[in-house]
């Protein structure tokens, strides 16, 4: 079927199979930041924005994004840059495989709630698994970033 998606600001017209998943479609279009960590909507690695809201691209058909605006970390480099430096300072990037999904969802959190408490951060990001960092360093990084921003 024919679809049209605005991917990171660029309009893309494409022919897709009806069962094509959004994750496979964005990767096919060069957005390799989007990772698959499971097939069951449990890990959050595949998070992308559709019309500005985070969705799991592994459990959404590309067809459902037809006519919508899809953003991946490739399209949010500037917004991410300042923040991720604080994660890097903690060494919490580790293997990095979960990072794009985590970064995307953190951006979404901070857009919704610019000054979250630790518990609000944990709750919002609960669906973003990380097997390496033990999460605490990610939290410290976000906290330091917020302290820096609010200075």
């Amino acid at each position: 079927m024919e679809i049209q998606i605005t991917l990171n600001g660029k309009i893309i017209k494409d022919h897709v199979e009806p069962d094509c998943l959004l994750i496979d479609w964005v990767r096919k279009h060069g957005c390799y930041s989007v990772k698959r960590g499971c097939e069951t909507s449990n890990c959050g690695l595949c998070t992308v924005f559709m019309d500005g809201k985070p969705v799991l691209s592994c459990s959404m058909l590309a067809a459902r994004a037809n006519g919508h605006n899809v953003q991946t970390l490739e399209g949010l480099q500037e917004e991410a840059k300042d923040f991720v430096a604080f994660i890097a300072d903690q060494g919490a990037d580790q293997c990095g495989f979960c990072n794009p999904g985590f970064v995307m969802n953190t951006i979404s959190l901070l857009r919704e709630n610019p000054n979250p408490t630790d518990d609000e951060i944990r709750a919002y990001l609960a669906g973003n698994l990380c097997r390496c960092s033990g999460y605490e360093g990610q939290l410290r990084g976000i906290r330091n970033y917020l302290n820096h921003k609010n200075k």
Binding site: A88, C95, G96
Partner: protein
Amino acid sequence: MERKDYKSVGKAYRKKDSMQLLLGKPLYVDDITPDHALVVKILRSPYANAIIKNINTSIAKKVPGVVDVYTWEDVPKKRFTIAGQTYPEPSPYDRLILDQHVRFAGDAVAIIAAEDEKAAKKALKLIKVEYEKLEPVLDFHTAKDNPILVHPEENWTALCKVGADAKRNLVASGVDSHGDLDGVFKDCDIVLERTYHTKAYQQAMMETFRTYTEMDRYGRLHVISSTQIVFHVRRILSHALDIPKSRIRVEKPRIGGGFGAKQTSVCEMYPAFVTLKTGRPAKLIYTREESQIAASPRHEMEITVKLGANKDGTIRAIDLYTLSNSGAYGEHGPTTVGLSGHKSIPLYTGNLEAHRFSYDVVYTNHQAAGAYRGYGATQGIFALESIVNELAEQLGMDPTTIREKNMVREGMKMDAYYGEMANACALDKCLEHCKKMFDWDKKYPVRNMGNGKVRSAGVAMAMQGSSISNVDVGSATIKLGENGTYNLTIGAADMGTGCDTVLAQMAAECMDCSLDDVSVFGADTDVSPYDSGSYASSTTYLTGKAVEMACDDLKKQICTIGAEMIGCDVNDVIFNGKQVMTEDGKKSVSITDIAYKTQANSKYTGIGTASHSSPVSPPPYMVGMVEIELDLFTGKVDIIDYMAVVDCGIPINPALARIQTEGGIVQGIGHTLMENVTYDANGKPMESSFMQYKIPTRMDMGKLKVEFENSYEPTGPFGAKSIGEIVINTPGPAIAHAIYRATGKWYRELPITPEQIAMDLMEKESS
């Protein structure tokens, strides 16, 4: 001795690849390899033990887009192991790429190569297999000397003398002892004997197993894989495919986590076989399901410990027997079991007069176990630390006091640890420090919170090793570049831990330059100097030392060239990172000019290289304390605080050491409270996805606090020992202890689930 004036060592630098990782750049196998590669899929056995009577692939082969389908009849018939270990491997040669005899539900039956995923999946369904079902061996207690043999085949072999015997379902068996065990037990006031049971757990690294293969421009097999062990993979593939090692090149890009899973060559042979057969690029990406059911999880172990002590808490004798479940194949079976005794018993060297450690490792029809962070030590430490807590509670002693009384201390000879000396040991300081930080005296007493919940605390100590002594090889090559910067090339694998950065910090320290002046490359079998790979807590300790030695080598060359250029004797010059000069500073030449000199009319390479092995494996030590809140109605355990103090020698990068610790603790929490690999009555795996196999989220781990107590390891680079594995060892025993304090029941089997606790509490109430 420890020095305070280091410029790069001991600093919390960012990882060199941080920004690339955090900004989602294409760095992993599936991001950097071509999309047009053949899609490889594996047909897997539905039965735990069966013989393939007949396999018909003709319809599957006709599916448009299917290039070929391979069965056991198509593959080489020489057995090999996929365990990433130094040759000759202690693991038995019990594998074929595809075997007529399938030995667990999920074992490979056929390989499909297709132009796209859809065709491959369609073909999967169209292969017709006729199985002769055999009775499986599913209970590891009954595996040894069971009439059903997991490996009845005649060409099964074991290269090393590890007590393996396929005719008895034995992967390994042995005993090791010191002192008059029976005599000491007789003389003890108390002898406790308990049996503990730890389960198989999946490493559950976020990037599943995956490999890309192609024929390169020289007609060699080029393998790009998510692996911790490029050199071992090259050898394993050469055995599996029966082609010379010289025809294979293996490299790894960034790796999305390993934790030991990728110390086994789980999936490389399948696409490699396809590429050899078709000449075409091929790619195999394991699904999460495959990474759950046909992977390389932790060895399930049942450990019986007998502890002899005096009334005052003096621990005098330990007898430990481990039964380990290796599953259908023997990867890492003979070696993991060793750590269950060798890296637990020495913790109590203090007053230990005698010990015995014996073990059996058995084949069953479960998925094959493998290497997982902690590698047997985790299992042994759960048992030993738990029984010491039981002893303390029985004696009415504070469990930290009993440890102070018996723990290994610096300068002691550890009879249970190959007779090695504890040259660097701050375990006593870790305990003192952790007690204070955690406020043990206040938190140890059980507190009823008045809302149906109680708070309680638990403690455990741990140790591990640093590399496999007299076996592992760490290597490094450092090359002088023209503007006085350096290229460091290694064969160890940074799997996210940050070893590229840690090793570069050491190089920067040695060469007296900034961290930015050192670029790191690894790992590629065509380019890197031989290194056993990143496992056994070896990289910082062993490869780090090799970096130091390679830098010494290069510095000598720099001084020689410099001395020649300024016309004096090499013994009269010094190198300060920027220039080579005479001691009085009168004559000098810059590092840039020296670098250029290696490129014009030169007989010097400007390359330093070194390999290193260690005769010892110095243990890091650690203490963990946990406070939990237990709901007496639902049995739910919430971790409130987990605090730990670690002695990893001198931490080269404290931020990365801390993250290692935090990550290890959270994995340990998962193993203790929720994770478990189980099978139904027919041997089918139950946890095929993250729906059933729950790993901790950020809501499950409470608050972590990690600090360090430094010791100085004389054989390590800059006094360093290891950190990567030890950190997973304390949560099991510490949390089980806290749960006992809250409920009065010792849980000797993991995981300890809310259902179980709630049912036990109900039973207690009604009785």
